[in-house]
């Protein structure tokens, strides 16, 4: 029966093609011509074999990684107003707010203000800072209404994405300009935000270009510190940006996008007044933030089985904080994707990044030398092999990177997916990832405290970077299982075991004498080395349940255990225990969305985060809820309450001491979204 249909289907197609051939060739471009099949009956149409199965974007359920996608509906229903709050819903992610404008976010452990194991990108452009390897979440200010989706992969994404993608990858993909036409106005205010708003306009220019321009602003009040006084962490930011999508030809498209921003933020910062100070003193400091970026992406289609992308970007920022960090970064990336035969799908690429730093420095923190530039050259190759078509896929790949500090690194991985059926699949992977040294690892100078010996010698305790610091390495063993049960429930499991070696540690160095700043003093340095090893392991379970036509529940639970220890002859007794206890053992989350009526939706979410043993931060539960009302087709009103359970609570005490924590407050806001 099956064979007969197959042959029959071929007959249909052949007959049609023969007919077309008999009618003669058309002079027009084949890619724009279509077959008019409306004369065929339904039964015949059902037997036509179609050759192009969508698409270059892999079917989500076939990905051999722990992947989670945040959709525009998830964004609207969560009531989140920034990216960090959005990431709270993702299993395996550790999201902790340090103060009003600073977050510690990582995946699968090793969290901190400058957590550098997570690669964050916007439309494929890296947005982490090469200074520390961490992400400035405050200036990662994306118009949430323009997000097409956010893809989060927990586990090393190093093969395709490169160094820094040790524990996870977050890619924020924005909507095409053609999908955001017309005028959009968003405005709101709340008890913590005196005001926020976005104005955006999108239109078509010429026959082939869609564009949008936008401007957004927000202002957030300060929260209280642990002494119940004003924490001074209020801030505001104004951003202006654009995007244009041009269809250059049938085979070429060009995306151009960019934005510039300016803002000011306050921080309760510990500073060292002089080299004789016994320790840092808390001070209210303000930093001016400014910067901008420009990105172009050119996509060229060779055939329907092969396409390539060339992207170039510039990113510059300046922060008038204690470091006076001012940096510009250029990226150039090329990627080619093609299918070979019936069973192989290749992606390969080359990348180049050049970044230059221009820092001011202060007594507490500086870079030596203050101005330097570094570059990274990389290449990768990945092959997805259909070992058994529609059943078993094996992906093999490697990335090779060369950076200024640590030379070459190879990041290979092997991944396999087995599909039991369209509704059940299992995957497993082994991969190696590397975190290459950041500028801070190599050039940092932190002056921590000073004292005077009885004989009059001035002594200064400092932390120094190390030009010979090595890459931090991890070998990750992962596995997962996805299934759909019945027609309303889907479950996703992911488990991992990561072996870390050559992790950063702080070792006592040889004391040396220094003449400046006066008075001359003896420096007792601790130097960055790589003498910590260990492992982490954990399990993440996610479930999505459509309880009724109008009610959906999303729930997840994850646990993680971190066991780092120092390798002799290390004398660092602090880093390993601090790392072990800076991530909660358990997260549990549940989100509910109910369509009360055609126009009114009610969302509620609860997130439980376990305590941080090394920091003495107790466990807490965050409860958010929101009501949204589609007043007309064009106007939506919403009211959202966040952190409703406690008036204020502590989430994270960062051991780097770069900034002080404040207590995260209960808040609520109202918002109007109007498009016309």
């Amino acid at each position: 029966m099956k064979q007969f249909r197959g042959r029959f289907g071929c007959c249909v197609l052949l007959a049609l093609l023969a007919q077309q051939a008999a009618q003669g060739q058309s002079a027009q471009n084949p890619l724009t011509q279509h077959l008019d099949l409306t004369q065929e009956s339904l039964e015949d149409l059902m037997n036509v074999e179609v050759t192009s199965v969508s698409k270059k974007e892999q079917k989500l359920s076939r990905t051999a990684s722990a992947v989670f996608v945040i959709t525009p509906e998830d964004i609207r229903q969560s009531g989140a107003t920034n990216i960090p709050d959005l990431l709270r819903m993702v299993p395996g992610m550790d999201v902790a707010q340090i103060n009003g404008n600073t977050w510690a976010i990582s995946a699968r452990g090793l969290n901190g203000q400058f957590a550098n194991e997570l690669l964050v990108m916007i439309d494929g452009r890296n947005v982490y800072s090469p200074t520390s390897g961490g992400v400035f979440w405050d200036t990662l200010d994306v118009t949430l209404e323009n997000i097409e989706r956010i893809e989060i992969i927990r586990g090393p994404g190093a093969t395709v994405w490169g160094g820094n993608a040790v524990n996870g990858v977050v890619n924020i993909i924005r909507k095409k300009a053609g999908d955001t036409q017309g005028m959009l106005v968003v405005a709101g205010a709340g008890n913590m935000e005196p005001g926020f708003g976005t104005v955006e306009y999108g239109a078509r220019a010429g026959g082939h270009t869609d564009y949008r321009i936008y401007s957004k602003y927000f202002s957030i009040d300060e929260m209280n510190d642990r002494q119940a006084e004003g924490g001074g962490d209020g801030w505001h930011l104004l951003r202006v940006g654009f995007r244009s999508d041009t269809t250059v030809s049938e085979k070429d498209s060009l995306i151009l996008q960019g934005s510039i921003y300016a803002g000011r933020e306050g921080g309760p910062v510990p500073i060292l007044p002089s080299i004789a100070s016994p320790g840092p003193v808390n001070q209210q400091l303000f930093a001016n933030l400014s910067g901008g970026s420009l990105q172009s992406i050119w996509n060229h289609t060779y055939t329907e089985r092969s396409d390539s992308t060339l992207s170039a970007s510039y990113d510059g920022y300046e922060r008038s904080d204690r470091l006076g960090d001012k940096r510009k970064t250029f990226n150039l990336d090329f990627e080619h994707h093609f299918q070979q035969g019936r069973r192989q799908d290749f992606v390969w690429g080359l990348g180049y990044r050049w970044t230059a730093e221009n820092s001011q420095g202060s007594l507490d923190v500086s870079l030596i030398p203050p101005n330097q530039s570094t570059s990274v050259v990389s290449g990768f190759l990945q092959d997805e092999i259909a070992a058994i078509p529609d059943r078993l896929y094996v992906t093999v790949g490697t990335k090779v990177e060369r950076n200024t500090y640590s030379g070459f690194a190879a990041l290979p991985s092997v991944r396999a997916v087995y599909e039991f059926s369209n509704r059940r699949m299992a995957w497993a992977a082994i991969s190696r990832a590397v975190r290459t040294p950041s500028e801070a690892d190599v050039s940092l100078r932190l002056n921590v405290a000073g004292f005077t010996e009885p004989d009059g010698t001035h002594v200064l305790i400092s932390v120094l970077g190390n030009p010979h610091v090595e890459d931090e390495r991890v070998t990750a063993y992962e596995a997962g299982y996805r299934t759909e049960m019945g027609q309303r429930l889907s479950i996703d499991l992911a488990a991992y075991y990561n072996r870390y070696d050559h992790q950063n540690s702080s070792e006592p160095g040889t004391p040396f004498f220094e003449l400046t700043p006066l008075p001359p003093h003896l420096v007792l340095p601790t130097i960055g080395q790589n003498r910590i090893d260990g492992e982490t392991h954990g399990l993440e379970i996610t479930a999505k349940w459509k309880v009724a036509r109008r009610w959906t529940l999303n729930a997840s639970y994850d646990f993680e255990r971190i066991h780092m220890h120092r390798e002799p002859p290390s004398q660092d007794t602090e880093t390993a225990p601090d790392t072990n206890g800076s991530d909660p053992h358990v997260h549990a989350r549940i989100r509910s969305h109910v369509d009360l009526s055609h126009r009114v939706g009610w969302d509620a979410a609860a997130y439980f985060t376990d305590r941080l043993l090394a920091q003495g931060v107790p466990s807490y539960t965050r409860v958010d809820t929101g009501l949204s009302w589609r007043w007309t087709e064009r106007l939506t009103l919403s009211v959202v309450g966040q952190d409703l359970l406690r008036a204020q609570h502590l989430e994270f005490l960062d051991s780097s001491g770069a900034t002080n924590s404040t207590l995260i407050r209960r808040s609520c806001y109202g918002k109007v979204i109007w498009h016309f």
Partner: protein
């Protein structure tokens, strides 16, 4: 009490007994095909196999409108054209426009409108949500709910989310599933012939 038929996704191993398939029908179809093929007006050379999937789906959309009955008050008068709407980027790349151009169903002209995101769906009688709409079909489906709009999609869970007809691919052939309950809410009557050809039907079935 009628029970709902369990919906299954397009699994290559499963066969739904309602699927039409007698050898006689095949032979007849082949004969019919050869006749129609010689009298059809093909557009151009067929090197563009890249678009075959959407050419086939465009033809399906044309047929769906032939086998679905809209309530009499859905159209202002007999001259109101039957409008197909797509949202966002045109997944058909013009194939749908070309397929329905100059044709009529039940003496109604056919028209295609390409809506922008967030644009209103008034005046749409068939609404097609492409795979690119994944994750944001909630709003268009909610807008169409209860109105005489035939919602057609191609994401895996389209009919469970309230869409009326969902495309799927099985062994490189286009199949479709029907949500009869959603059709009922839209006051649309789906002919038995279309139901018989559907891979699966969610909702109440007379035979069961």
């Amino acid at each position: 009490m009628k029970r709902a038929v369990t919906l299954s996704w397009c699994e290559s191993r499963k066969r739904v007994r309602a699927y039409a398939g007698s050898k006689n029908l095949k032979a007849l179809s082949l004969a019919v095909l050869l006749v129609t093929a010689s009298s059809s007006q093909p557009k151009a050379s067929a090197e563009s196999s890249a678009n075959t999937e959407y050419d086939v789906k465009a033809a399906f959309l044309f047929h769906f409108a032939q086998f679905v009955e809209w309530p009499p008050d859905a159209f202002k008068d007999e001259h109101t054209p039957l409008t197909y709407c797509t949202i966002g980027e045109d997944a058909f790349h013009g194939s749908l426009d070309e397929s329905v151009r100059g044709k009529r169903i039940g003496n109604r002209e056919l028209r295609v409108r390409h809506l922008k995101e967030r644009e209103q769906i008034d005046g749409c009688y068939v609404l097609f949500l492409s795979a690119a709409q994944r994750g944001r079909q909630g709003e268009p489906l909610a807008s169409a709910n209860g109105h005489p709009v035939l919602t057609v999609g191609e994401t895996e869970h389209f009919v469970q989310e309230g869409g009326i007809i969902g495309f799927c691919l099985e062994e490189k052939k286009v199949r479709f599933e029907i949500n009869l309950e959603a059709a009922g809410r839209a006051q649309l009557k789906i002919s038995a012939k279309l139901l018989a050809l559907a891979k699966t039907v969610l909702g109440n079935r007379r035979e069961d």
